[in-house]
Amino acid sequence: MERRDKLLSWLHEAQERSGRNYLDPKDLAAAGKRFGLTGAELRGVASYYSMYSLKPRGRHLIRVCDSPVCRMLGSAGVLEALGGALGIDGEGTDAEGRFTLETCQCLGHCASAPVVAVDGTVHADSGPDGIRSVLASLREADESSSTLGGGGRGD
């Protein structure tokens, strides 16, 4: 049985492997065996941390920082513009399961506010102009994943 301190890192990897940015029940069952934990214990941990999801999300995850500095510098407009371009109302996932748009707390890039993280990569100065580069990188990311059979990151 593996010591439990490796659990969070293991869950991060499982979530990446899923292709849908979530913790698959099969992965949770595997984690249960590996770390000697019950389903309730695992869901207790997974549901606590904001980076994990127990429900499938889009193949690409867009997190708009909504902490006090980014909000002051216009995160609401960023969320709206991204939602409009991706066909998502507020926070959520598009009909095709390509993109999930969500807000998050401070990403630690406050000198570049407002910022957006796309699949973990932070895009600075995501004002009206910056949004264009974010959208371009999104389309590129989705095209490359479709050529891999739509399964996400190809690993």
């Binding site: 969070l8 500095v69 002051m72 000198a111």
Partner: protein, 415 residues
Amino acid sequence: MATERRIALRHLDSGDPLDIDAYVARGGFEGFRKALAMDPGTLLGEIERSALRGRGGAGFPAGLKEKSTRASCEDCERFVVCNADEGEPGTFKDRIIMEGEPFLLVEGMLISALAIGSSYGYLYIRGEYGLAIERMAKAMETARARGFLGDGLFGGRFSFDFEIRKGAGSYLCGEELTLIESLEGKRGYPRVKPPFPAEKGLWGKPTLVNNVETMANLPWIAEHGADAYLAMGSAGSPGTKIFCFSGDVERPGFAELEMGLPLRTLIEDFAGGVKGGGEPLAVLLGGAAGTFVSGGMLDLAMDYDALKASGATLGSGAVIVMGRNRSLPDMLISLMDFFAHESCGKCVPCRVGTTRLARAAKALAALDGADRPDALEAMVAEAELMAKTSLCPLGQSPVLPLKSALRNLRGPLQG
């Protein structure tokens, strides 16, 4: 004009951050070499005498923490834990250190381990800091291959190594006992203290938990001694601090400065001044768990004691500038939303209190200016009650911005 004094950032912008030969050529690991030649009591004495205080926000004396971790048992296992769960809004200094000079943090971990008598440690980095995690992992691998981590370092009897653990999105895990719970693979719920980590920390063993910036100061102190460190900064707050500038300034960014400089100097000389010129509406110091000062208070000296005397705090070193056209009530809403989002729910006063305060902030914003001071006073009273009855620093934090806003920002509140 004041200039930067780089101690915790002294290896920044010196080429490839992962080139260990260049790090050594610049004097890297010299602090560790000197620390290794001292007996632990001398090393602890130097750190204690330097009056270095925790740079994560609480400002607890670093030497005292190390001393009590070492003293809590004889010949037992002790752990070094570096807190890189930097989640305070407006704060990104630890990321700069890990991305830009990862070997300095490795060296700081080594010196911490020598000071407390530990042979193993953990670096807990927030999951959002992908590049910092990658750089630190590479730096540790290189340091291990080159004999700076592992068994019998420098041919002596001292051995030390450490591992990285990733957080998964929880502000509260930056609190030391909560961080330990999370390191153990559990929900990030705070523990009742005492016992403090120095006595019972990771897996019940004595544990030193220090912030990244605090550890990044140790190599310099070990190399140059406490007297040289004491010669910088102000009497009560010696040394330097990394400040992070954000919001309505011309040049957002960071600077490492001797403590005690006026806030005006920070904003004008190192952040390019307020956007559009003139004085700011307010400055939020230290992040969400920080305090407001008004645009008329820019002569305040940035050290622990001077700020305390004005009802303000240095906190993490965040300097969030609000321009004249900003709304204070809107900022209060963001701050209260932040706490409501991050409250873990373990203890009732904080779980219910943060939600009530978020609602109260929205109600305050809808009031006429003249009615707002009374509404804010009621929020302060509630936040004070919450601070007294909550288990951990999160429940004790909302009162800081609220009370300082009431004290220092009457005008902007009504405007």
